[in-house]
């Protein structure tokens, strides 16, 4: 049967006229060009990983979305209508997921990642923010800040869709928040059918990049450039800046099941808070290499991955311990598969650390 399918594909390829093939090669806009299907796709650059039920979903450069139904042993490419780099992916349930990326793209899937639809692009995102800035200028408490926001929004529209979304968080298949470069933030309450700007409700006067979102109950947290940290006590409707323990950029946030908040970033700096971000304890820097991602395992432990390919786990004693051997490649993201194995993504592609390679305890 598989042979027959292959034959069909070959015949189809032969049947398509050459002129067709040539117009296929015509380079179009990244927002209107579908991601090219490629062989050995798992060796490309991958940026983020997520679980859709048992399924694993990886997103990366040039609109690449790969799916694995065997816990990361084999991957196949999903159909994606854009070819911009995708920076983050999350599933609200086993079927409904969102991915965000460059050029202000928000993609949604309703079939567990098989096909994706564009919900929003940077052009619309800028327009949404401009409309919001105009609307909220009238009832702004601080007219000067409102004016500055309006100018920024106008520039955003003028510059075109060149800025990425960097992180997202969906609480269910209806409600979600996406954040990105220069403090852009949009929210939806209707599964992405409509979006509204949240920029006016986030305390980020410098317009710093927002790299990570985490939540624990109704507490939502943002982390970003230059040690930016903010918290929402109203389930992400508005954010207030927190006092930061560090002036360097935070790339990742993770909240453990016990409510502990872990934040990590530039040059191996990591901190933990047991008091909803009010106060942070420093986790001593093991190596001065930036942390890219943190992930909570099934057993509640939090793993951190750095750009040098080393994994660390936080201990209750408040320290970071190496976890397994260094992988020898930069890690952008990691996730635990349903069978317990670890999947890592990075500049050299996707790889899988089987269960027996991941030490359960020291």
């Amino acid at each position: 049967m598989k042979r027959l399918q292959q034959l069909g594909c070959v015949l189809l390829a032969l049947a398509s006229p050459l002129s067709q093939a040539q117009s296929d090669l015509l380079v179009g806009d990244v927002l209107s060009t579908s991601a090219m299907p490629i062989a050995q796709a798992q060796q490309a650059v991958f940026i983020d990983l997520a679980r859709a039920g048992e399924r694993l979903v990886a997103v990366g450069e040039r609109g690449l979305v790969l799916l694995s139904d065997d816990h990361g042993q084999s991957w196949r490419q999903a159909r994606v209508p854009v070819s911009v780099s995708l920076t983050a992916v999350q599933f609200a349930d086993a079927r409904h997921g969102w991915a965000v990326g460059h050029a202000g793209v928000i993609l949604a899937t309703r079939d567990a990642g098989e096909t994706w639809q564009v919900q929003l692009s940077g052009v619309q995102a800028a327009q949404l923010e401009l409309d919001a800035a105009r609307r909220e200028l009238a009832d702004s408490a601080d007219p000067e800040a409102g004016e500055a926001r309006l100018q920024t929004a106008e520039r955003l529209v003028a510059e075109g869709p060149d800025k990425p979304f960097l992180a997202l968080a969906f609480t269910d298949a209806q409600h979600g928040l996406v954040v990105g470069a220069y403090g852009i933030a949009l929210a939806t309450d209707d599964a992405g059918a409509t979006w509204h700007s949240l920029v006016g409700r986030i305390d980020n006067p410098l317009g710093l990049h927002l790299y990570a979102v985490a939540r624990h109950g109704d507490d939502w947290f943002l982390a970003g450039e230059q040690g930016y940290l903010a918290r929402s006590a109203d389930a992400g409707r508005s954010f207030q800046m927190l006092e930061s323990p560090y002036a360097g950029t935070f790339f990742t946030l993770a909240s453990g099941p016990d409510g502990a908040l872990l934040v990590a970033g530039l040059k191996g700096h990591a901190f933990i808070s047991h008091e909803r971000g009010e106060r942070f304890e420093v986790l001593p820097v093991p190596v001065p290499v930036s942390f890219n991602d943190a992930s909570t395992l099934q057993d509640g432990r939090v793993l951190l991955a750095n750009q040098g390919g080393m994994l660390f786990r936080s201990t209750p004693a408040g320290a970071l311990k190496p976890f397994g051997k260094p992988l020898g490649m930069p890690v952008s993201s990691l996730v635990q598969a349903a069978d317990g194995s670890l999947i890592v993504a990075g500049f050299t592609g996707l790889s899988r650390l089987p269960l027996h390679d991941t030490p359960e305890a020291e």
């Binding site: 093939a21 040539q22 117009s23 869709p161 990049h209």
Partner: protein, 828 residues
């Protein structure tokens, strides 16, 4: 006919010989023998002096098809393609540990300093761990920090070594200057085309300097690997010098075989001497006409010598037989001249045509080879068809050898007494064996053709295909690929843009798309381009966050990144981008797939502002060469066969005889291609001439055998008888030379240069198989195509007029007469 035969009267002395007999040319030459000798002597002296000026060189641009559009593109932009410049990579490895070792670093420093001073090194751009341009960069909370990788306070102490280790990790040089396993590092040495005193770079001298450094510093602790075009050329030139040894070996072997056959030292030496004179004249004529020897044409003198031996042996054999029959040496020489000059001339002319068709191939080295070979063959007409018989007419042959040759003939007087070999060969003129032979040949042709369908174009081996897989250079190249990950097979696409606009988003977007498409093709290992650099640099500028891995549509950012990009990705005036494609191999399929994709991409995306152009880099040049070679392969066969068929038709005046002579050659050509498939040899610049040479030389055999066979058949002999007569007069020398030449060229197998070994094995096959074809398939085909009996009277008599002179004259038209006389001679 009658008047001619009068000169064939047995003549042990010169007294009864009519010096006015023979054609104008024969009288002109043989009646003024001292003058001919004097002229030849003067020519030898003059050309011998010229020959001392011959140069051995290897020029890169001569090995590429300069007329192909890809190469035209490359040569147009060569100056701006700084990333593809001529550079050496010298890897210095620590055998006992990693590079963070004080002794290792001290050696590296000394080597680096010494290489810095070599002539021709582009010192400003030389790079190693010790050059100040090798820096580390690190992102900090405040921005960027950096410095040279060797710490300013370096003193070899563990602390400074640890600092070096940290700096290397931050330097982005792992995989570039430092191996992945950190046990070796590279000294990168860009070269100038001319040294500071304006002289062209002397590759042989540079290579020798490098070898001296290697000999001095390689030790139990240090291993040195050197790659780069300059080193490859240096090794090739060194290998060429060994060719002289092969040449000497071939002279000894062929002379030895000839002596073993004739047992006549005198005439053997004369044949060798005349063939060497031909080589000397050729070597003298080349510098006179402004040519030099290169790795390809260096084989031509060798080939000329071999062909000369073949024709010389025919002449000597004829004269020896005639002297054995009792003729005076002068008469014997003139007789042989009459009998074989036209056959020899036709054969040499077809050789010359076989070489000359190589001029159609648009690759300078092959054209030079064609010129050199044509000159050599033309020279042979004088030295071996004229000078040799005249010399033999003075010196003669040893009486013992002449008697011996005669005894062999006598033994052959009746079918029953003939040598077993002749009886075996005679079977092929009989129905049963002829049918079997023709059917077998047809089967081989079909099978060979089927196999030859898989014939590959281009080089199939890794590394430098000119050299052997286990040569020092290729081992070094394999080490580089292993330790540093960068492939040596580089294909480059040039992208022409308006001046100053090479970083425009819409242009980089296209480059980025092509880059991505090419990376998914089979055989592509990795790519590099300004678009890719933009992606990587944006990550770096964003504090290393992988989320920024994108070609951002932000012109200010693109301009900023481009301004700091290394040379090689774009040119000075920002009007030319280079997309580098590193390949896992340089097989023809890989290159063809790549070329076809880029062509289609260019057709779809080229505009007034951006043009994608093929091709640069060694693999790009090879792709163009493959295209030229593939086209030339068929064209060349068409021309060479066309020319040879025409010559045969003129000589034989019979399409049937022509067919008999050509079919064995075609079979050999087909089987040679099948052999190439079997041995894994592709059609390339080095092997392309082989089939043309094989046809050119193979037709010699067919001409000598068929022209004799036709003479006897037209005189009324049966096919079997005519074939036998042809065998004992010229056929056995065909056998002798076929084997001798094959032994001579098979020694090339030991050449350190791979393509010479390939040429050697293929030429040896063609020499032997053409001989087998001329001796077995030719008579078998003649059985079907040239049934003799009724046509004997009509066609046996040559046409009056010009053809009269063209037909070789044989002393004994009647077999009975001849054997009777032979009998009479022995009873004397």
């Amino acid at each position: 006919m009658k008047s001619r035969h009068s000169s064939d009267v047995d003549n042990a002395s010169l007294a009864g010989f009519d010096t006015r007999s023979g054609n104008l040319l024969e009288r002109l030459l043989f009646n003024h023998r001292p003058w001919v000798l004097l002229l030849c002597l003067l020519a030898t002296l003059f050309l011998g002096m010229q020959a001392t000026r011959i140069e051995l060189n290897a020029s890169f641009e001569k090995m590429i098809p300069t007329g192909h559009p890809y190469i035209v593109n490359y040569l147009d932009n060569q100056k701006e393609l700084s990333g593809l410049g001529n550079a050496l990579r010298i890897a210095v490895a620590n055998r006992h540990g990693d590079i963070y070792d004080a002794d290792y670093l001290a050696t590296l420093q000394t080597l680096s300093d010494k290489i810095y001073l070599l002539p021709g090194v582009d010192r400003a751009f030389m790079k190693s761990l010790w050059t100040p341009a090798t820096r580390w960069v690190s992102v900090t909370e405040d921005g960027l920090d950096g410095g040279p990788v060797i710490p300013d306070a370096y003193d070899g102490s563990p602390a400074t070594l640890a600092e070096l280790r940290r700096n290397v990790q931050l330097s982005n040089e792992i995989g570039q200057l430092v191996a992945f396993d950190q046990r070796s590092s590279i000294i990168y040495v860009p070269l100038l085309a001319r040294t500071s005193d304006g002289q062209p770079l002397d590759y042989a001298a540079l290579s020798a300097d490098l070898e001296a450094l290697r000999a001095q510093y390689q030790s139990d602790a240090i291993d040195i690997h050197i790659t780069g075009f300059a080193k490859k050329i240096g090794d090739l030139i060194e290998g060429l010098e060994q060719i002289l040894l092969f040449f000497a070996g071939a002279i000894l072997i062929t002379a030895g075989v000839l002596y073993a056959y004739t047992r006549c030292l005198r005439s053997t030496l004369l044949v060798v001497l005349c063939s060497l004179v031909a080589v000397l004249w050729q070597l003298g004529l080349l510098p006179l006409l402004g040519y030099q020897l290169d790795p390809y044409s260096v084989l031509v003198p060798f080939l000329v010598f071999a062909i000369g031996m073949s024709h010389g042996a025919q002449k000597m054999n004829g004269i020896m037989q005639d002297i054995g029959r009792g003729m005076h040496r002068v008469v014997a020489a003139r007789n042989t001249f009459r009998r074989l000059f036209v056959a020899g001339l036709t054969a040499l002319l077809s050789d010359a045509v076989g070489f000359a068709v190589l001029m159609f191939i648009d690759i300078p080295v092959i054209q030079d080879l064609a010129v050199a070979a044509s000159i050599g063959v033309a020279v042979l007409i004088i030295t071996n068809l004229i000078l040799l018989p005249i010399l033999l007419s003075y010196l003669g042959v040893s009486p013992a050898a002449a008697q011996r040759s005669l005894r062999e003939e006598q033994a052959d007087s009746g079918p029953a007494q003939r040598h077993r070999l002749w009886r075996l060969l005679d079977l092929f003129t009989q129905k049963r064996w002829a049918s079997v032979c023709v059917i077998l040949a047809a089967c081989m042709a079909v099978a060979g053709y089927l196999v030859s369908m898989n014939l590959k174009i281009g080089d199939l081996d890794a590394g430098a295909p000119e050299l052997r897989a286990d040569s020092r250079y290729n081992l070094d190249d394999a080490f580089m690929n292993r330790a540093f990950g960068a492939s040596s097979d580089l294909f480059a696409v040039m992208v022409r843009t308006p001046a100053g606009e090479c970083a425009r988003y819409d242009i980089l977007r296209k480059v980025d798309a092509l880059d991505w498409q090419l990376r998914t093709l089979p055989g592509v290992d990795s790519t590099n381009s300004l678009a890719l650099l933009n992606r990587r640099m944006l990550v770096g500028l964003s504090e290393g966050s992988p989320k920024w891995y994108e070609l951002q549509n932000n012109q200010a950012m693109l301009n900023m990144i481009t301004a700091s990009a290394p040379r090689g990705l774009y040119n000075e005036s920002c009007s030319l981008l280079t997309l580098y494609v590193y390949l896992t191999d340089h097989k023809a399929e890989t290159l063809t797939g790549l070329v076809e994709h880029v062509e289609r991409f260019a057709a779809a995306n080229n505009t007034a502002d951006v043009q994608f152009m093929l091709a640069a880099g060694n693999a790009g040049i090879e792709a163009a060469t493959n295209i030229v070679v593939k086209q030339a392969n068929r064209e060349m066969l068409f021309w060479v066969y066309g020319a040879v068929i025409l010559l045969c038709l003129i000589t034989f005046r019979s399409w049937r005889a022509t067919l008999c002579a050509i079919v064995p050659l075609v079979l050999t050509s087909i089987l040679c291609e099948a052999l190439m498939v079997w041995l894994g040899i592709g059609v390339k610049v080095a092997t392309l001439p082989v089939i043309a040479l094989g046809v050119g030389i193979g037709i010699d055999y067919a001409l000598y055998v068929m022209s004799m066979l036709l003479v006897y058949q037209r005189q009324g002999a049966s096919l079997s008888e005519a074939y036998y007569r042809a065998l004992v007069s010229t056929g056995k020398v065909v056998m002798l030379t076929g084997v001798t030449l094959a032994i001579g060229v098979i020694t090339w197998l030991f050449s350190p240069i791979k393509f010479q070994a390939d040429m050697g094995v293929l030429l040896a096959f063609m020499f032997v198989w053409n001989m087998v074809g001329a001796l077995l398939l030719l008579p078998a085909l003649a059985y079907f195509l040239l049934p003799a009996q009724p046509r004997a009277d009509a066609a046996g008599e040559p046409q009056p007029g010009s053809h009269e002179e063209a037909t070789p004259v044989h002393p004994k038209p009647q077999v009975q007469q001849r054997s009777a006389r032979a009998h009479a001679l022995t009873s004397d």
